[in-house]
């Protein structure tokens, strides 16, 4: 599209649209990104509140939880189930993949919008519908689904066992709708990044954030098919009386586990990769350094992506699969530690000879690396079949995956939001409040989950609403650790209000950001902040890779992709 036409289109769209068209029915990728972002944040508040309620029950069994009341065993199960489902499917996915994918891909590739804007709009609408269905499921007779976020049948597929026949069905429908939304979104991410890049932008000139989101979308598309089929079978079992997962009628409950984890493991990388992409952008900007071994990072991501399809049964070592199969999955699982370790090495190596400024986004990015390393190394214990016999379904597993998912979904998201906030809203965030929020999140986070590693090491299992009935677990010091974890969680939740305060205050009174507040190189910093409809006044041309910081031939320590010389 010629520049003049875009200007014209951009002018035409301004000021004339109704509230409905502008905020709810928009096809603008930035508005859709905001829809995903704010829906994701709203769901995060629900998921965080659920965590507060069930952690209160664990720390003080039988207590009247403030803002909630007594927690019954059925409610406890529904709370943990939906906490997990929400945080992965309705927070990590929409915020990391959809919000940032939508916002960044057209801006970083230097084009005016997604390739299929209407599919993009549809994607968000289906996502919103899925979120509504899930929220409705908490209030139907019998209550929300409580069969764990993995929804193993026959508990999930037969109402007489779960005692939440309607809640279970709505949960499956919500999850299936959410998958449809992200399939539609993924089509846009991949095609836009492949077909609509600015002239001059070769594949190796694409910023890592875009690459990561594209590869994540490919992984999602390749893995989700079996689970959608599984979800439909589950729905049929629940509502039409089929017996796909019912052993008494020739079905097999373990089949669901294979379908679920064949998706479930690549899903970890679907949300991990975007976060890794943001971290790459942030550490290069604030260390004023070229990304260490760009191509190695890219190949490593491909290797991880392919390997991630071969490790799923490490979730099922003790589930009754043929025990010989465990050997294969132990080997593939430990193999995947190699590319992930290499990625961490590369990021750390990027800091070498840098000039590091500790801005709020940089603190989040560095925290991501540190916390994710803990999450990664504790995974080795679980990927090894022998030790997993002991660790499976203990709090050690729980602490391990919170050390991966928290860095991904919360730290990664905060890194992205604080870094791109000036571009999204045209204002700078307050650094002092940002740092208070950072330390107020990171310190309690570690105090929540380090004790849980210990509890797991002492044999405490997951999803049990009170440990009073177990003599080995109802001991004083273990209860003290549970209380410590709960109090830390409350502290962490309270500190989130600092973020919201900072967000609102900076929107109103923040310093004007300007086009390129960090002297960064990639194309999103070439357009006004916030970018107007159509993004760029003049569509940019790309002359070089995205991480040319501190180039010896240049006086300035950055060299934007769009600058001719």
């Amino acid at each position: 599209m010629a520049t003049a036409e875009i200007r014209h289109a951009a002018d035409e769209h301004h000021g004339e649209e109704s509230f409905f068209r502008k905020y709810l029915w928009s096809t603008d990728h930035k508005m859709i990104a905001m829809q995903y972002l704010f829906t994701g944040i709203a769901m995060a508040l629900i998921g965080g509140f659920f965590a507060f309620v069930f952690r209160m029950q664990l720390a003080f069994p039988g207590i009247e939880v403030p803002l909630y009341g007594m927690v019954s065993p059925a409610e406890y199960n529904a709370l943990v189930t939906n906490h997990g489902s929400i945080m992965i499917f309705w927070v990590a996915m929409p915020v990391l993949l959809a919000a940032f994918g939508n916002f960044l891909i057209p801006l970083m590739c230097g084009c005016d919008d997604m390739v299929f804007p209407k599919i993009n709009r549809l994607s968000y609408q289906i996502f919103l519908l899925s979120a509504i269905v899930l929220v409705v499921s908490f209030f139907v007779p019998g209550g929300g689904f409580g069969g764990a976020w993995t929804a193993y049948p026959p508990l999930s597929s037969i109402g007489d066992f779960s005692l939440t026949p309607l809640g279970a069905t709505l949960w499956v429908v919500a999850v299936a709708l959410e998958f449809v939304a992200f399939l539609l979104g993924g089509i846009n991410f991949i095609t836009t990044a492949m077909n609509s890049r600015a002239p001059g932008m070769r594949l190796y000139d694409i910023p890592m954030a875009v690459w990561m989101i594209v590869i994540a979308s490919i992984l999602f598309m390749a893995s989700v098919g079996p689970l959608i089929a599984g979800a439909i079978m589950m729905f049929f079992d629940q509502q039409l009386g089929t017996g796909f997962f019912d052993p008494s009628r020739g079905g097999d409950p373990v089949l669901w586990q294979h379908l679920f984890w064949f998706f479930g493991h690549p899903e970890v990388y679907v949300v991990l990769l975007p976060a890794l992409g943001f971290v790459a952008e942030i550490i290069t900007t604030f260390a004023r350094k070229k990304l260490f071994a760009y191509r190695t990072v890219l190949y490593t991501v491909f290797a991880t992506g392919i390997l991630s399809f071969t490790v799923w049964a490490h979730h099922q070592f003790i589930s009754g699969i043929d025990p010989r199969m465990a050997h294969i999955f132990t080997i593939t699982t430990l193999l995947i530690s190699v590319p992930i370790a290499e990625m961490m090495f590369v990021y750390i190596a990027t800091l070498y000879r840098g000039s590091i400024t500790f801005s709020t986004p940089m603190l989040w990015a560095l925290a991501f690396i540190g916390e994710f390393i803990i999450g990664g190394v504790t995974g080795i214990f679980l990927g090894a079949s022998g030790p997993d016999i002991f660790y499976h379904d203990t709090y050690f597993v729980l602490a391990h995956f919170h050390y991966t998912f928290f860095p991904i979904a919360i730290i990664g998201a905060y890194a992205g939001i604080t870094y791109w906030f000036p571009k999204m809203f045209g204002k700078k965030l307050d650094e002092r409040l940002g740092k208070i929020h950072f330390w107020g999140t990171i310190i309690p986070f570690n105090l929540i989950f380090l004790p849980l590693f210990v509890l797991g090491q002492f044999g405490q299992h997951r999803r049990i609403y009170s440990y009073e009935a177990f003599p080995e677990l109802a001991v004083g010091w273990m209860q003290d650790l549970r209380v410590l974890a709960t109090l830390s969680l409350i502290a962490m939740l309270v500190f989130q209000f600092v973020f919201f305060w900072n967000f609102i205050r900076s929107l109103r009174r923040g310093e004007e950001a300007g086009e390129n507040p960090y002297n960064a190189n990639s194309l999103e910093w070439a357009c006004p902040s916030p970018p107007p409809h159509g993004n760029f006044a003049v569509l940019p041309t790309v002359y070089r890779p995205p991480y040319e910081y501190s180039h010896p031939d240049r006086e300035q320590d950055f060299w934007p992709q769009w600058q001719k010389d």
């Binding site: 190596a349 590091i356 080795i380 090894a384 022998g386 016999i389 080995e472």
Partner: protein
């Protein structure tokens, strides 16, 4: 605060495999964190100092990464070997000694029940002893367990044994254990099984042969009295 008791023949080998991983992984973690924090400290921005330009495609820095990941791979090999050795012992072999007995472990919503072979040592005979929530075994005797479920998935988990196995409706899953010490220990359900999942505490009672025989005798008398009582009632 003493560590989980080690009460089965393979508990120690699982702990040893965990220790091996902890040492290898701990080494890498400490090394990585040291390097990470040192770089952050050493290369913090200072006035007048400019960052270097390192592409990472040069030979020297690239070698650093390559060597590191080769070493990680070597560690992985050791971990795989340790993990598989333990796994084969716990999950792929069954005891063949003549004194081996079989017990049946039944998971259902929401209780554990157990069928002990009774004085004759054979399962599914008239003197079988059935119990709810309590499994009684003899120290030093290998047992094969037959794990079944009446409704949904459950998981028979005995942390003191380091043992865990899912129960699947419609299947009989076999495994084994041999206790090395007497005492009573928690049995937990480790697979979400519905509303009462948190209310399925079982207890494993490990006894000396004499205690075990006495327990069986008491159970036998109790069963006899019950039989008598039901006979009288119907007669």
């Amino acid at each position: 605060m003493e560590y989980l008791p080690v009460v089965s023949t393979y508990a120690q080998s699982i702990d040893d495999a965990i220790l091996l991983i902890a040492v290898l992984v701990g080494f890498w973690t400490v090394l990585t964190f040291t390097l990470f924090f040192w770089l952050i400290f050493r290369y913090r921005a200072r006035p007048g100092q400019r960052a270097g330009y390192v592409t990472g495609e040069e030979r020297q820095p690239k070698r650093f990464i390559t060597i590191a990941h080769m070493l990680v791979l070597v560690c992985d090999v050791f971990i795989v070997i340790a993990a598989i050795r333990v796994w084969v012992d716990v999950k792929q072999t069954l005891p063949t000694a003549p004194e081996t007995q079989t017990v049946r472990v039944i998971g259902q919503q929401w209780a554990w029940s157990f069928v002990h072979p009774g004085p004759d040592g054979v399962l599914d005979t008239a003197d079988d002893i059935k119990s709810v929530d309590e499994l009684h075994i003899e120290v030093g005797r290998p047992y094969i367990y037959e794990l079944v479920s009446r409704d949904v998935l459950h998981d028979f988990s005995v942390p003191a044994f380091r043992l865990k196995q899912d129960a699947i409706p419609g299947r009989i899953i076999q495994g084994w254990f041999e206790a090395t010490d007497t005492g009573s220990f928690d049995i937990q359900c480790a697979e979400m099984c519905g509303i009462g999942h948190g209310l399925m505490p079982g207890r494993l009672v490990i006894e000396t042969p004499e205690q075990h025989a006495a327990w069986m005798a008491r159970q036998g008398q109790a069963a006899g009295r019950a039989l008598l009582a039901s006979g009288r009632a119907s007669g």
